[in-house]
Amino acid sequence: MAKKASSSSRTAPPEAPAAGGADFVWRRKDLVGLDVLSAGEIVHILDTAESFKEVSTRSIKKVPALRGKVVALMFFEDSTRTRMSFELAASRLSADTINFTAKGSSVAKGETTLDTIRNIEAMGVDIFIVRHNQSGAPHLLARQVRSSIVNAGDGQHEHPTQALLDIFTIRQRLGRLEGLKVAIVGDIAHSRVARSNILGLRKLGAEVVVVGPPTLVPSAIMPMGCSISHSLDDVLGEVDVVNMLRIQFERFSNAGMPGFPSVREYHKLYGLTTERLQRAKKNVLVMHPGPINRGVEITSQVADGPNSCILQQVTNGLAIRMAVLYLVSQGSE
């Protein structure tokens, strides 16, 4: 696995070990994206999350790993689920959390993101969880501040913890990653979830096909190591996992979104329905990062059906975020 993974991970630092394992030691202070991680580092996060799953089954669902540390949730862009998941993860590690929302804050008065973070860092914050509408904002911050930076989604760039929890769930349900074929369906062009998933899955030896209308699937995505299809029906029979992305209606103006067909047409061509699912492999895993637009990219029967692992993804997200917070708190580089 290691060999195959390293050949596809062009951006992995050469000094990073190719595969995880008992002797592997995590050293990074930040998690900005999966593009810079080696296959070994990704596996280390997944394995650590495995250990954290147990904590949530205890009667006292808390460990003192981050006791006395302060975690700041810096959401320059809206989020409910990711924010709550990170906040709960931090509290299960016994950290203190503080919250920041861009609306009505000093940002509205014209303060730059870097100044905002530096000011809050001066209060004694150890870990910043950052969501930002600008791609690359967490990378900039990670270079400029001493605290740890965890990317909770930046622009159209990456959403590493979402991809990690997706990959974790696939590994849990199907027992492996190498050799699997994963379809990611929807608005690939604007999806940070898709980008992080492609990067992570390729490094761990899975095959990825991105599916969507030509206007939403840029051919520039191909150098990331995935193939492209414009027909869900063509690929559905041969994939082990189908990850349905959310149609981001908040990106629509009154005139619709440039390049997006009508909702009805999209549903007809790319919506995952019971009829369509019958053409897939019997045990195909159906995923969705949420929130679901029921009846658009996926029907209720499929979303709530036996192939779906949507709620399991949410549960696993907590373990992944506990693992990430713990690991970056131990890192120094």
């Binding site: 394992g21 008992a22 050293r27 147990e54 009667s59 808390k62 460990v63 003192p64 890192g331 120094s332």
Partner: protein, 179 residues
């Protein structure tokens, strides 16, 4: 690297630890043997196997504790090795618990283990069994059952190796802490 105890002496120490623990068992009630990862886990597994043979009618639970998250030096460490899961899938409330570790020195691991166990329930009683007591306590903690006492100079590190994890049995002296 110097060998302090050979396989035979390790076996004798395990026997001594086991016999002492056996004599200390309560007359009734649930018993749980909990090993601290990694060598304590192996020792606990051996003890459980032997106990179930000697006391076939008693109910004996077996647990594994990873104390990483409870360590008091967590914020001083640099880098994170893999943490493995704690496996305590039984009710700890009112159980008589034998906590097993390989080497007892400062007592800090045991302090962490007691905190971890506390999060799983209120045991009726916790007894500590260690294979090697090497002295050098930094906390007011002592073992109830000891396999072997060794006097080792401060700053020197000793390691127990067991067949299951290391392919050989023995206690070895490793030159200094850093190695």
């Amino acid at each position: 690297m110097k060998q302090l105890l050979d396989a035979e002496h390790v076996q004798q120490a395990i026997d001594r630890l086991y016999q002492a623990a056996l004599a200390g068992l309560p007359a009734k009630g649930p018993i749980a043997v909990v090993g601290i990862r990694t060598r304590g886990e192996t020792l606990a597994a051996r003890i459980v196997r032997q106990l179930r043979g000697d006391k076939p009618k008693r109910h004996i639970d077996h647990g594994i504790l990873d104390i990483t998250f409870y360590r008091d030096d967590l914020s001083r460490r640099r880098g994170a090795p893999l943490v493995r899961a704690t496996e305590i899938d039984f009710d700890l409330d009112d159980a008589w618990v034998l906590l097993v570790d390989d080497v007892l020195q400062t007592g800090r691991s045991i302090r962490a283990a007691l905190d971890a166990l506390h999060d799983f329930g209120r045991a009726r009683c916790i007894r500590l069994g260690v294979l090697i007591d090497r002295g050098g306590r930094e906390l007011p903690i002592s073992a109830d059952f000891v396999g072997h006492r060794l006097l080792v100079e401060e700053g020197q590190r000793i390691q127990l190796r067991l067949r299951e994890t290391d392919g050989e049995e023995g206690v070895f002296l490793i030159k200094n802490r850093a190695s």
